[in-house]
Amino acid sequence: ALTGRLQEAFRRLSGNARIDEGNVDGALKEVRQALLEADVHYRVVQDLLKRVRERALGADVPRGLAPDQLLAKLVQDELTAMMGGAGPRHLAWASLPPTVILLCGLQGTGKTTTAAKLARRLIGEGRRTALAAADLQRPAAVEQLSVLGKSVGATVYTAEPGEGAPALAARARREALRAGFDALIIDTAGRLAVDEALMAELKAVKAAAQPHEVLLVLDAMQGQDALPTATRFHEAVGVDGLVLTKLDGDARGGAALSALAVTGKPVKFLGVGEKTEALEPFHPDRLAGRILG
């Protein structure tokens, strides 16, 4: 089901026998508007519509659909393909435990909560899971993860006096290995992608932890800045997957498409609430529908 604005765009085509050079751009203009309102980055929108236009005017256009239905289908297909085509969406399990998962992202996106949710999920799958509270900056961040970790039955490694985030990450990995954990999830401090010192620290944490999976945690309501942010995090530490949080609200979530387009990496999990059980695996077609409204 497509939003009112898109219905309008497509209705304009429905009087026509087919899509052609004369009517396609008018309809695509409305699609552009809808995607921008959904917070998809303008460059990603431009590329997407270019591909849709080519397909709409191309030789292998699906038959038997009215022009408006056809364009709706092509847009939805293109979105779904972008989201589904970005690679396997499950976690990359290490051949030898522990699998180390590193969470990173801007301030307040839901990393600490997601760390605990992920731990709960893995423990539910029968995997012994530990957490490392490597945010040594935010007031009571360690306490927050400790409380959440305890509530899901996960061991939480916290820094010793004088121990920095990279040293904690290295030690947590060693101890998780020795204790036979299947997974170690490392929570880090929120940071600006343009903060050179903190991005250097993140690289040091990554080097110390040697994660099998680096997840960028994004807030579903993020705007156009999701593109440059995701680009910088990806260039700094190499993102393996995305987590999109706060999808239990009415934010359209276009930021996910921007981040996905620029990293080439898939959304692996969705945060759908504040409780530790509120984590879902990702379904491309559902998010595509949401972005389209």
């Binding site: 309102e37 301030q107 009571a140 306490e143 600006l192 705007g223």
Partner: protein, 275 residues
């Protein structure tokens, strides 16, 4: 003139993209780009004026919020907004700003839900030289707010600053809880809360509109706080939100430290939105 972005569709398109990138939204971005190009040499100034006009009339000048004298004694300020927007940190910074002006500030730990929320605010209270009122986790947030205001009155504080739990604006039960907090604060002290501030995450896009609309529908808002403007997000969506709701922007958050809070300065904010 040889200066300026030039005319024609190329120039207009590239301007529109700059405005889109600043989260002004497709409608405003298109309108501004066209005005800018048509304005020729005066294009940039005209765009700046158009942006200023988006703000409500009462919100087009420097907000003067931090130095404003308290409206009552104690003056009660309520902070609300979606999860992770920066409410608790803003409470800490605001407390620091007021204590540095010689005022006695009581912080109320109104987030009784999230793990370590009261601990986080407590650390900020210590940092700011303010006092903290908290109850046990799971306590009724309205009860905490009530007690904080009563304590503020009884102990002669200049300001009571009430933090609340993050809530998505579409969660009806949480918005009802917020309305109850607001009502109960008024029972603790008639006229309170004197200032109700909606804290908006500066990295947010068009969802700011829904946030402002639904929070304003729940409780009367006196001001907006836009956080995380020290990053690359430009928070352009705030302009239309402020204009549509008539709620002026009071403060901007510029970092994670106690001093990283400033009055809203419209010309400076708008300058950052222009290419």
């Amino acid at each position: 003139a040889a200066s300026g972005p030039g005319r024609g569709p190329e120039a207009e398109r590239s301007l529109e993209e700059a405005f889109l990138g600043a989260d002004l939204g497709p409608e405003l971005a298109a309108r501004l780009a066209s005005a800018y190009v048509r304005g020729g040499a005066r294009g940039r100034a005209e765009a700046a004026d158009a942006l200023l006009d988006c703000l409500p009339p009462a919100g087009r000048g420097p907000s003067g919020f931090l130095a404003a004298a308290p409206l009552a004694r104690p003056e009660v300020t309520l902070l609300l907004g979606v999860n992770g927007s920066g409410k608790t940190t803003t409470a800490g910074k605001l407390a620091a700003a007021w204590t540095s002006r010689g005022q006695r500030v009581l912080l109320g730990a109104g987030d009784t839900f999230r793990a370590a929320a009261a601990d986080q605010l407590g650390l900020w209270a210590a940092r700011a030289g303010a006092e903290l009122l908290r109850q046990s986790e799971g306590a009724d947030p309205a009860a905490v707010a009530f007690d904080a205001v009563r304590r503020g009155v009884a102990a002669g504080f200049d300001r009571v600053l009430l933090d609340t739990a993050g809530r998505l604006q579409t969660k009806v039960n949480l918005m009802e809880e917020l309305k109850k907090v607001h009502r109960v604060v008024g029972k603790a002290l008639p006229g309170a809360p004197h200032r109700v501030l909606l804290v908006l995450d500066g990295t947010a896009g068009q969802n700011m509109a829904s946030q402002a609309r639904l929070f304003a529908a729940a409780v009367p808002l006196d001001g907006l706080v836009v956080t995380k403007l020290d990053g690359t997000a430009r928070a352009g969506a705030v302009l239309k939100v402020s204009g549509d709701t008539g709620v002026p922007v009071a403060l901007v958050g510029l970092g994670e430290g106690a001093g990283d809070l400033a009055d809203f300065d419209p010309p400076a904010f708008i300058e950052a939105l222009l290419p």
